[in-house]
């Protein structure tokens, strides 16, 4: 079931059913393509996520309600086959109790070691990229680890923080505010702006790729170029 709602005066948001699936990713890519063709000259940005597409129009658009009605009528709701080669990559993590590892363990009734074990026990798919440059939303987390976001976001999350929220996990590519539960730190750079305009990729993965975490020691973290934040010095 697809719905198209107002997001703001210059934006619409298209929703698929609120569940996480690889099928949704393909359907969203197909719909994004269609929307680009239908409203090309009025489009400012299109932001896909797990089960939604934010469609932002230039402020001089022809009227948000007219655009909503037009897209509702014109969007073909079937899904054509879009296939993409997906790659698998491994991200090292220096797990640490300095942040929310203890709280997550307590919430789930597990030990910290069991939380770490479960977090690195499966492959995650890259469902969306956003929030900040190179921030990839990975899913799905083992349901036993599902933890709500912090009641009030932290003003400063350190660079490389590996964190979880509900059944998602992610790595913060740079220091930023954030409301996810931090389990540890990843030394791998996730957004290399210096690669812009070169053949080298900006990010080590794309939407649809598979990611696995692997526990490393403090020494390995430092050897891989990781920087210790204030809390661990």
């Amino acid at each position: 079931m697809i719905s198209l709602q107002l997001a703001g005066e210059n934006a619409l948001i298209l929703y698929l059913s609120p569940e996480i699936s690889a099928q949704h990713l393909m359907q969203l890519q197909y719909l994004a393509q269609q929307i680009r063709t239908l409203v090309a000259d009025q489009l400012q940005d299109i932001v896909p996520s797990y089960a939604s597409l934010l469609i932002v129009f230039k402020p001089e658009h022809s009227g948000i309600l007219a655009l909503q009605a037009m897209l509702q009528q014109q969007l073909a709701l079937g899904c054509s086959e879009i296939t993409q080669q997906s790659q698998r990559i491994t991200l090292p993590v220096y797990y640490h109790t300095a942040w929310d590892l203890g709280q997550v363990a307590q919430n789930s009734g597990l030990s910290a070691a069991e939380v770490i074990e479960l977090h690195q026990a499966r492959d995650y798919r890259v469902y969306a990229i956003g929030f900040a440059p190179g921030f990839a939303y990975l899913g799905e987390l083992d349901s036993r680890l599902s933890t709500p976001r912090l009641v009030s976001p932290r003003p400063a999350v350190p660079k490389g923080a590996v964190a979880i929220a509900d059944r998602q996990t992610a790595v913060y590519p740079a220091a930023s505010p954030g409301g996810w539960n931090i389990l540890g730190l990843c030394p791998t750079p996730l957004f290399q702006a210096e690669n812009a305009g070169t053949a080298k990729p900006l990010m080590p993965f794309r939407v649809g790729d598979q990611v696995r975490f692997q526990s490393i020691s403090r020494d390995e973290f430092l050897a891989l170029g990781g920087e210790l934040p204030q809390e661990l010095r």
């Binding site: 709602q5 107002l6 997001a7 703001g8 005066e9 210059n10 934006a11 948001i13 609120p18 996480i20 400012q44 940005d45 299109i46 932001v47 896909p48 996520s49 797990y50 089960a51 939604s52 597409l53 934010l54 932002v56 402020p59 001089e60 009227g63 948000i64 309600l65 969306a128 990229i129 956003g130 929030f131 900040a132 440059p133 190179g134 921030f135 939303y137 709500p148 976001r149 009641v151 009030s152 976001p153 003003p155 929220a165 509900d166 998602q168 590519p173 740079a174 930023s176 505010p177 409301g179 957004f191 702006a193 812009a196 900006l202 990010m203």
Partner: protein, 314 residues
């Protein structure tokens, strides 16, 4: 070639053009002028044919020296403006000669001013834009705020006539600021009582407010915690974390987020909010689909007619 050199960078001064678009899917935020209305008026006064790269002076304290004759103006917050120590009017274009010093004091009302020049500043773009986002370290000069001694080249331009915007058209800094909310996103998650509370609460701007978003303080709005898949956030979106205090997301917002949102405030109101300081009173009011349609028509007319109100001063 015309250019300026930064003598004093002020509290925080950043280069901004219209914003960075087309890269939100990689997580790059829009950036751009926090008060896009004052920014746009500056370009119109200078007869710049397209949105230019300007300096957003936040709080105040910037001074620059001109290396060649040019035309400039300052719009936005009420910041005392001088050229070689002589007071000059905001919302008006002025000529400067080589070695003239343009200085801005500290804002008496509002937060952000726009120092714009005929032709605009010419600097390398980053992902299609000059807009500086300090958190992401992108745009501007090496992703940072302006620093003493930096050289700001200016794109060549025809020497324009001088214009002024009559005072009756200057944006005010009214209290309380009323924000028109366009219901959207998870609007159906909120019941009648919650909507009533949202529209009747007197909020105050929190100290934790910046170009990323404005946090509001007031009576918390209780909402059932519900899991939400992270989704795209538009300019002006209002998010409600479990603590029940709204955050209005602005230019440097995160591109995706997972807190519930009752909708988004009108862009002109979001720009006015960005000019508010800690403690400023804020109220929300609802914008129906019909009112939204009328608002968009009025806005188009406002921008079409505004240049007709300019008075020539040369």
């Amino acid at each position: 070639m015309s250019a300026f050199v930064v003598l004093k960078p002020g509290v925080v001064s950043t280069l901004q053009d219209q914003g960075r678009f087309g890269y939100a899917h990689l997580g790059l935020t829009q950036g751009g002028p926090a008060d896009h209305r004052s920014y746009r008026i500056a370009d119109l006064l200078l007869q710049n044919p397209s949105p230019s790269c300007q300096v957003e002076v936040s709080v105040g304290g910037l001074s620059v020296v001109a290396l060649a004759d040019t035309v400039f103006c300052v719009t936005g917050a009420q910041m005392p403006l001088t050229v070689n120590g002589q007071p000059k009017s905001l919302w008006q274009t002025h000529r400067v000669k080589k070695d003239d010093v343009i200085a801005l004091g500290f804002a008496q009302a509002g937060v952000h001013s726009y120092l714009a020049v005929a032709g605009g500043f010419r600097l390398p773009k980053y992902f299609g834009s000059n807009s500086t986002v300090l958190r992401e370290k992108v745009g501007g000069i090496a992703g940072g705020a302006l620093q003493q001694g930096q050289f700001l080249p200016v794109r060549p331009a025809y020497r324009s006539l001088l214009f002024t915007l009559p005072e009756s058209y200057w944006p005010g800094f009214s209290t309380p600021l009323e924000l028109g909310l366009v219901p959207g996103y998870q609007q159906q998650w909120f019941d009648t009582i919650q909507w009533q509370q949202l529209y009747s609460t007197d909020y105050k701007v929190s100290a934790l407010s910046d170009r990323m978003g404005y946090r509001l303080e007031g009576e918390p709005l209780c909402c059932q915690p519900r899991a939400l898949l992270s989704e795209g956030i538009c300019y002006g979106a209002v998010q409600l974390p479990p603590e029940g205090l709204p955050i209005v997301l602005l230019n440097d917002r995160q591109t995706l987020g997972g807190y519930p949102k009752p909708g988004a405030v009108l862009a002109t109101d979001a720009a006015a909010l960005a000019q508010c300081r800690q403690g400023h009173s804020i109220r929300f009011y609802p914008v129906s689909p019909h009112q939204l349609h009328v608002h968009q028509m009025q806005l188009n007319r406002y921008w079409a007619e505004l240049p007709l109100m300019f008075r020539s001063t040369s």
